[in-house]
């Protein structure tokens, strides 16, 4: 066999083309083969995070799956935000999903809210915050537990739950993570943005105000609009 000239241009082009095609097929095959398992892992991870926000921690895969099925009754999606209706020890709790920006990348979280509009539990996650500093929002259970029992809204439906450097009102404010002011600010903004819309769901006052107006759709959030408005109208007539 005559020796190939491995330095000719034609050889280099054909060689690299063949190499790339082989690698592409290989990667496509691996990706397809492993996709179902990866999706299952991601789905399970979401369920675990929701359980964390309900203060149920330290469960393994199958345990978490069973517990999730037991606790979470209903999933709703509204404007890209997800809500999970849950029941723990006979108490109705709603978990709201949050999304926001940290210092280096996206952050996300779940906050569970009891029927008084107080935080029942919280869990935060991040993509690329600094380990030991910003990453504490995920790693530090103690920090997440600081949210428990805080008031989320004032009477007007504005979000008052906040993450601040200097806690003045312990009923609504949470101390930020030391050395991670910017990440903490991100969490603060995420909570403010994510829970503003959810207010109407918990503050019954707004329902009667807007029935019959154009905003009825948004304030009878998720509930059956006709039902919720007719109830308030009937009440008004009776009065």
């Amino acid at each position: 066999m005559s020796k190939l000239n491995t330095n000719s241009n034609a050889y280099i082009i054909i060689y690299s083309a063949i190499l790339v095609v082989i690698v592409a097929f290989l990667l496509a095959f691996v990706y397809q083969a492993l996709k179902p398992m990866q999706d299952a892992n991601v789905a399970l991870d979401v369920k675990k995070q929701i359980l964390y926000s309900l203060n149920i921690r330290g469960l393994d895969g199958s345990e978490a799956e069973a517990k999730y099925a037991e606790v979470v009754k209903e999933e709703k999606e509204q404007d890209g935000q997800k809500y999970y209706a849950c029941q723990i020890d006979g108490k109705d709790i709603i978990v709201a999903s949050l999304k926001g920006m940290g210092l280096w990348g996206g952050i996300s979280g779940y906050i569970s809210i009891d029927d008084e509009g107080k935080v029942y539990g919280a869990y935060f996650n991040h993509e690329s915050e600094t380990a030991g500093l910003g990453a504490e929002i995920k790693d530090s259970q103690a920090w997440q537990e600081k949210f428990i029992g805080k008031q989320i809204w004032d009477e007007n439906g504005n979000v008052v739950l906040s993450v601040v450097k200097d806690v003045k009102d312990p009923k609504t404010q949470v101390d930020c993570v030391t050395g991670a002011t910017l990440t903490s600010n991100g969490v603060d903004a995420m909570i403010k943005a994510g829970l503003q819309d959810a207010a109407k769901r918990f503050l019954n006052t707004s329902n009667s105000d807007c029935c019959g107006t154009e905003e009825a759709d948004s304030c009878c959030n998720g509930d059956d609009k006709a039902k919720c408005c007719s109830e308030t109208e009937i009440k008004a007539k009776e009065d």
Binding site: Y11, S16, A131
Partner: protein
């Protein structure tokens, strides 16, 4: 040539001592600092690098005579990148927690200088079997340091090993406090420095 001839043994054991990738050549420091805050990701990272170095070495060694000299670095990179992507996908499917912990550092194995160094310096000139041994040797040498540093950092920084509590509760009651510094990447650099110092002082022999 016998599978474990004297030469082959040297190929395997040299990177564990004399030509150690981290201690001797000071390569691959970046990822060694980043993933060693706990023992488990350190072990997985070490294994991943070992597997990838070994197989990349074998593949490059098999095709070494066909690789056009002018694009050899590109070919090496493509092979390494493919292997790294496969390992990363496998981790995501079978060890999701660990893959989350390792985050970008699995992908960054591609740029780990140990890999490129071994491919360029060894696999391009040697047969597949010695290349395989060389890859495993270098990978284990790297893993060794990761495990040492990871164990020290997790033990002193969190009081646990592999997630199990090692330092008993009564020590905490007596006022023992976990060293938060240990969880920072800076401490990993200092620890690697200490390991290099001990190695030079007690184990390193001039050729």
């Amino acid at each position: 040539m016998a599978l474990f001839s004297k030469q082959n043994k040297e190929v395997f054991t040299n990177p564990l001592n004399l030509d150690h990738p981290i201690l001797g050549q000071v390569l691959g420091i970046c990822s060694a600092l980043a993933v060693t805050s706990q023992l488990k990701p350190a072990i997985v990272m070490g294994l991943a690098v070992t597997v990838i170095t070994a197989f990349a070495n074998v593949i490059i060694s098999i095709i070494r005579n066909t690789i056009p000299n002018r694009i050899r670095i590109v070919v090496q990179l493509v092979v390494v990148a493919a292997l790294v992507t496969i390992v990363s996908q496998i981790l995501k499917a079978f060890a999701y927690d660990v893959s989350v912990q390792l985050s970008v550092y699995v992908g960054l194995i591609i740029t780990n200088c140990i890999l490129m160094g071994r491919l360029e310096a060894f696999a391009m000139q040697n047969k597949p079997w010695p290349s395989f041994l060389d890859g495993v040797g270098n990978g284990l040498g790297y893993a060794m340091i990761l495990v040492i540093v990871g164990a020290v950092r997790e033990l002193l920084g969190r009081g646990t090993l592999l997630g199990f509590q090692i330092i008993p509760d009564f020590c905490y009651d007596l006022g023992y406090v976990n060293n938060g510094m240990m969880t920072m990447p800076a401490m990993a650099l200092i620890l690697v420095g200490c390991v290099i110092w001990v190695h030079r002082a007690y184990f390193y022999k001039e050729k």
